[in-house]
Every structure is written in structure tokens, then in C-alpha cells.
Symmetry: C2
Amino acid sequence: MKRPWQGQVEPPLLKTVPRHDPHNPLCPGATRANGEVNPDYDGTFLFDNDFPALQPDAPSPVPSDHPLFQAEAARGVCKVMCFHPWSDVTLPLMSVSEIRAVVDAWASVTEELGAQYPWVQIFENKGTMMGCSNPHPHCQVWASSFLPDIAQREERSQRAYQTQNGEPLLMEYGRQELLRKERLVLASEHWIVLVPFWAVWPFQTLLLPRRHVRRLPELTPAERHDLASIMKKLLTKYDNLFETSFPYSMGWHGAPMGSEAGTNWDHWQLHAHYYPPLLRSATIRKFMVGYEMLAQAQRDLTPEQAAERLRALPEVHYSLEQK
Amino acid sequence: MKRPWQGQVEPPLLKTVPRHDPHNPLCPGATRANGEVNPDYDGTFLFDNDFPALQPDAPSPVPSDHPLFQAEAARGVCKVMCFHPWSDVTLPLMSVSEIRAVVDAWASVTEELGAQYPWVQIFENKGTMMGCSNPHPHCQVWASSFLPDIAQREERSQRAYQTQNGEPLLMEYGRQELLRKERLVLASEHWIVLVPFWAVWPFQTLLLPRRHVRRLPELTPAERHDLASIMKKLLTKYDNLFETSFPYSMGWHGAPMGSEAGTNWDHWQLHAHYYPPLLRSATIRKFMVGYEMLAQAQRDLTPEQAAERLRALPEVHYSLEQK
Ligand SMILES: O=P(O)(O)O[C@H]1O[C@H](CO)[C@@H](O)[C@H](O)[C@H]1O
Ligand SMILES: O=P(O)(O)O[C@H]1O[C@H](CO)[C@@H](O)[C@H](O)[C@H]1O
């Protein structure tokens, strides 16, 4: 962190996004690429991605005779979920009850797509720095016919830990972080937020329920309300860190579903990962390059330092502060 | 790839870099952050990074009583290697014999640091998009007291394959790609370049010797000369793809060294990975975000399409072409 920075500086944020733009395919009443017209929605709005990376009928590859050239069809569906009818808000600027509607929509889409697919990946790319190409507040939902790599790794680790220790890894981990406090960012009645011991991104966090919950649809009304409230606090802190609309990719991981949803997945604990790229300021990011791509992640500040900085930040959004 | 792109566009390249800048700490004769003055070098130049991420005397962390909170000291050294005395050249614009000097310097530094450390990671971050903060042509060398994550994964895979099949994974893999040809980009007497079957970056490549070679210092003079020549061809194709100084991170992986250098590492095959971020043009990159960070890499074009495009490109640099 002492290194002088003469490298790439990100462009400052575009000024203001109009609240409604009839040409933005994510807005209420707009026409999308496939010719469909969006309803005049006033809460969340879920629709099929017009440019899906996964398709339900992807053909199977020609089988290979060689063990090093094995491939399988990746089938699935891709959906887009708008969080709010307005383009000029973000989650931390929405009310707790508006965020609660997003939580409910996440739970429903998980249930709906999980009836067919073993993995339902909800993720939000926020900010142009994270490859987001539309400023309207939204996330994506990609459901797949297979467990993706990272889901498989979490499955292996959580299963091995449960077998050895008789309880879910992330239950014990969360309890330890609550005791140790040094990496804790926020704690509420039902949730905790911490910078994980294994964090690679400077201000990476993990959001965990206190109760053993395997999937989003299992959350009680009280847990959903509390989740909306702690998300608003976390994302407000994030925005306050560099007084900018803080970019990140985030997503939910829960127990696999699909045809095997009924088998024993008690080793899984629901959680969300937040991966924000910024390191030094609103325009200077962490580059995961060279050594990180070829050898191992290396941090520019410790998880404890990151947690301390996030803890110290106010829970009132900088743009709403009485100056 | 059909998706319209309204997202982040990278800034165009800074115009010209001056050939010599007395204030650039990588230039011959310049004064570095620690007060040392660089020699008037005329080939490659290796020196200690003034802001090392790894240090030989890093303290050991306080031992933890809990299995989920285990940490170990990461010790090592970080060096910087300038490729050329001029700031306004890059590898593809250097002569084959100048590149050959870089190959020899890579072999020497591997031998030197490998006498003490089990892993010597040579890597180049090229371009501001890849976090490079100094335009002078250079790479870095980080030697560590431990095998980094990715080295451990390659160790496991290569060892398991050798145990099962009695020969190195990458020897059989390279031979298969030479037969199949669809992912091949370049082949010379001693080397091949291909877009690997498992590639995640759009124009990712793998550079492999044809002979079984475990580490850079084992390369014969003929293999070194041929390596310089195939690197010049590959990097010229890369620059020609979007008529820009093509950004990438690259690095070498070879058998572990240090105190265990003498044991059997025959399952290892030396190779270099090239990870370039560009996707559509000189200013539109692939974002490894959301789904990729939380679930699995997904490609916007197939490895075969990428290899075909690279194969078709001329081996004369666009900036040197007779118009
Ligand atoms: O060492 P540099 O060039 O200052 O820094 C660059 O390479 C490092 C090693 O890959 C990364 O950790 C940094 O994020 C990147 O900006
Ligand atoms: O789907 P989008 O927003 O067009 O695209 C974005 O998210 C995808 C899923 O993480 C990535 O593959 C793309 O690289 C990124 O630009």
C-alpha cells in the first residue's frame, strides 16, 4: 500500500442517470430487444434475458474418445430482475421495504427455477467497473443444469467439514467471528456481515444468517425484513467509504436444488459474497493480475484493517447527510 | 457476443512514451525510490523491487487454537527485470536476439532464486488495463517460501495424471493439440502455442516446449533461440488482432525448486500462460465478474474461434507494415 500509483485511474462516474428513459430496455413501459413491451411495474420486475448465455436446449457436444477432451452441454436459463422502477436509485438509496421486496423476489425466483435446475445463481454486477452495461438497478439470475465450479468447491468443503465436525462449517465460522469481533462489520438480530479470514478483494464481505438456513426461500418474514435492513446498512457503508456509488459483484450461494433438492444438504449454510474492486479511492481499484492470476491472491491491506474501516463508517448515506 | 455493448470503454493508449525519461525509476541511469542509481544497462537489468510484497524476514503469525483460523508466514523476495534500456519498445518490437537475452535472464533468475525458494514466479503485467503502472518494458519475479495456490493445483493435477498414465499430462496434451490442430496458433521446431481447451480469457494461450522440459534453466541454446522467435510471432499476432499494444498478464510455471529440487518432478512440464483481457476491440474488454466470480467462467467465443482468428493474423507487426 506504500507503493506510489501511476497506473490506471478509472473514469469518474457519469453524472446523473435520468429517472426514466423510454429507450432503456430495463425501464417500465420500454420496448425490449425482442419487441416485448415492459409492464408499468412499480416494484421488482423479472424477465428473460434477451441475450442469454445459457439456453434450455443447448446441443450436446460430440463425445470425445480422449479423457483430456471431455465436454458436456451447459443448459439453463438467464433472467434479469429490476429492483425498482426508477433508474436513478441503487439498493442503499431504496427504503427497507423496497429492499424487502427484492429479497422476496430472490426467494421466489430461487424456488421457481430450483424446481427444475440444481443451481440458481443470483448475482448483481454493480457499476461499469464490474462490467455492468445498464445503470438501471438490477441483478441477474442464471439457473443451470449443472453445479458450477465454485458451487462444487463449496459443496466439497462444507460436506467434508460436516462429516468431520458434525456441524455446518459456516455456522461454526460465523460463531467464531462473532466472538473474535476483529473482522466483524455489522451484526443484527438475524444476520452478520464480516470481512472473511480468506478475503482476497480489499473490502470483500460475507453476509451470513445466524440461524442454520440452507436456501433463500426458507427465510422467515422477520429474517427477510432484517436482511433488507442490514443490506441497506452495508451498502451505505460501502458508498460512504469513498463517497461514490460503490461498485461490486455480489451473489447468493445456497444448497443445490433441482431433482436432488430433497436429499440431505444440511452441511450447507446460505450466504452472500460481496466482491468490490476498489482499493485506494473512488477511481483506483485493485488489479487482480500477474501474481494473483498465476500464483495466489495477495492482499494490500489485512481483512482486520478492512473490517475496522468499514465498521467506523456511518450508516447514513453521504448523499443524504445534513451538511 | 451478440449483446449490444453500452458498458465501460477503456481509455485509448497514451500517445508516445519517451525513449528515455530520467525520472522513470526503470530507466538506465535513473535514481530509484531507495536512492540507488541504475547502471547504464544496455540489455536486461534485474533489481530488487523497492516495494516488495514478499519479504525474507516476514514474522510468523501468532498460532491459532482453531482449525478454521490457521495462517502461516509468507516469506520471499520480489525483483523487477527490465527487458530493454528503451521505454518505447515492447517484446514484439524487440529483435529475436534481444528477446533471447530476456529468456536467458529468466533462466538465470530462476536458477539463482530457486536455490533457496521452492517457487519462483516470473510474470509480466503488460498495459495499464492489467494494473501495470510503468510503461518501461519489464516483468517481475516473486520467489516464495511456499507453493502458491495455483502451483499446488498444477502439482496435484500433473502428479495424478502421471501416476495414472505414466507420462506427463502436458506432454500428451500438447501432442493431442498438434494432431487436432483446431486450437493450435503457432508451431515451431521446439515450441507450440495453442488456445487451451479450458481457456477462460477470450484470447488466452498456452506456450509449451515440444520436448519434456521441467524448468527454464534446462532449455538448450536452440530451444531458447526458438522460444524468442515464437514469442515474437505470438506477441506480434496479439498486437495485430486489434492494432494496439495488446495488454496481458503472462507467467511461467515449472517444477518446484528450493530444497526439494532434487526429488522427482518428472510429471511437470514447463509452460507459459498468456491471459489477455481484450474481447471485442482495443478498448472493450472481457469482464470477469458476477457469474464468473461466483459460479464459473463462461466464454463469449470458443477456443477454436479464438485460435482461428489468431492463426489468420500476419506475423509482421502492424506498425512496421509497408502501407
Ligand atoms: O507490482 P505492481 O506492478 O505495482 O502491481 C501490479 O502487480 C501486482 C502483482 O500481480 C498486483 O498485486 C497489483 O494489484 C498490480 O497493480
Ligand atoms: O450480462 P451482462 O451484464 O451483459 O455482462 C456482464 O455479466 C456477465 C456475467 O457475469 C459477464 O459474463 C460479462 O462479461 C459482463 O460484462
